[in-house]
Assembly symmetry: C4
Homo-oligomer: 188 residues x 4
């Protein structure tokens, strides 16, 4: 496998997915401020999903930059990860249409959760192939999974806040991991 | 011809085609589990088509990575291959709308079959230009064509299973070819 | 200007434009062979436009690969060329809806003609900056413009044949130019 | 951060955004010249927005080509910039539907203004990390913000002219900056 070509191909798919998200934002029903404010729930879902994908791109970028070796399994795990990712605009669009229902919310949690699991499998594959590649934060995935649980619970009570949980948690993990990595680098 | 630019251009088109597929997944008719399960046929068609394209990308990647020389004919064969590939979302979308009819199924088989034939022509062109480039599995294309025949027959009786035949067969060929290649590498 | 980044950006836009074309193919009105054959005009328009863009990509590729120097004017001429190109899916879509009317046909000719003119300006800019870069076929642009005239006339009488004129002519020019270039290379 | 991968990813998103713009051009209501001329306002909005994005790509290109160092903050500022950019097709589409109303016009000004602010933050981050990287024109951002104010005022009186203000002003700033940079280079 040529790592550069795989990474460029993956990035093109992520770029399209993140841009397709905006196509599902409903056009306001008139030329008034009221019409655009009426869609505030869709804006929150859009922005949260946009940042979730950006956080994950950042992590994908980190592990692939550091990895020197990849193999066929990497390709297939990356493909499964991309497949699950492709359901995100679909799932965000369903949620946007029924922002106060819990079933589309649970579906969104399930899709992004499975997407995170496939990312962990991809990460493990790369760590096995590149023993030097140790993720700085060993609590990253457990914390992420906890945030999905929290998100699922919130979808029962305050659906509109729920979508924001995972991007915030994932962002927090990136910041902490980065801090740990820097301290680690200073000590060695 | 600059191989890198051609490959990057081709990858961008494949990335868009594979992502457009998901746009044709119908949005569920309500915020219920029942509404999303009702579209299960579309999910199978989507996932099977996604993996078919991913298997083919893998092979395209292999032959272009190994090829050192390409010429103007390579470009045109690659363009025909891309044209046929661009009919896949169209054909998958038609099939999704009528998942139990056989004509859209046959059309899907014909499109993906012609796409495979154009890939074989592309492969032959590259093998001629690069005599070292021998595909490890000489049965790959005959087996692939057999799977299309099987798929066409299944579209008469159990349409929904039919779409899965070719990705599974193509995936199997990749695994076997890879195994043959490794054994071959060990012996030399 | 960084040539590589400009070329990659341009290629991404061309890849999206060529793939958006297929989105405008109307889905057949039923699961029958008759329904898909009813749209034969749209298929011809689609395939002709696809190949027209592929021929032009090939030429864009040639001049940019050979050019060593580019400047700010190159960027703006390339942007105008991309703007005109972005009207092609729009124009092909309008033509597809009224394949037997001549106004959408003339509009298609005007759009692709202006696109060719902007390409000639881009070519001249690159030839000035890179005196070594001489297009092998000095009749290429006059012949291309003649083909647009022919196409415009055909749109009055046999609209459906008209769209095929320019890709065939442009393809012919590529083949001839390539032949001239090879003979030229052999003589020097 | 790998600068090349970030730049390629960003370019793919810009390429998609600029191409999605054309999808919102309404198809003419018939095969007549009158039908296509009826949409002249949408063409102006489309062309102005296309050039605005192209001018900004040019500047993004300049600062990233010159910058040698980037960090995590660069990534997040770039992501915020991309998020705001993704609202441009949405906002241009709303404006296209109500080209004579001022609220969609103000929204368009606000979106492109915030987008410019996020670009200035990105520029400052890169200037801090790369002390050699000094933008040639220190009046660029104040002039740009002035043009937004002018545009907002014009949206009250002559909405259709308003969209053209910022691309023209931004283009002018590029030309002037370029001139200053060249003179500066000659003097040193």
């Amino acid at each position: 496998m040529n790592k550069e070509r795989l990474v460029a191909f993956t990035d093109a798919i992520i770029a399209i997915v993140v841009t397709l998200l905006v196509l599902d934002l409903p056009r306001p029903d008139g030329p008034t401020l009221h019409a655009i404010i009426a869609d505030w729930r869709n804006f929150i879902i859009y922005i949260a999903t946009f940042f979730l994908i950006m956080v994950v791109w950042y992590n994908h970028h980190i592990i692939f930059t550091n990895a020197k070796k990849i193999n066929r399994t990497t390709y297939w795990l990356n493909s499964i990860w991309l497949l699950l990712q492709s359901f995100i605009p679909f799932s965000a669009s369903w949620l946007s249409e029924y922002p106060t229902s819990s079933v589309p919310g649970f579906f969104y949690v399930v899709v992004t959760f499975l997407w995170a699991v496939s990312f962990q499998l991809l990460d493990r594959n790369l760590e096995k192939l590149n023993p030097d590649l140790v993720m700085p934060n060993r609590y990253a995935f457990p914390l992420l999974y906890l945030s999905y649980l929290l998100e699922a619970i919130l979808f029962i009570f305050i659906p509109i806040l729920a979508v924001a949980v995972t991007p915030i948690m994932a962002g927090g993990i990136v910041v902490v991991s980065d801090f740990v990595e820097k301290r680690h680098a200073r000590h060695n």
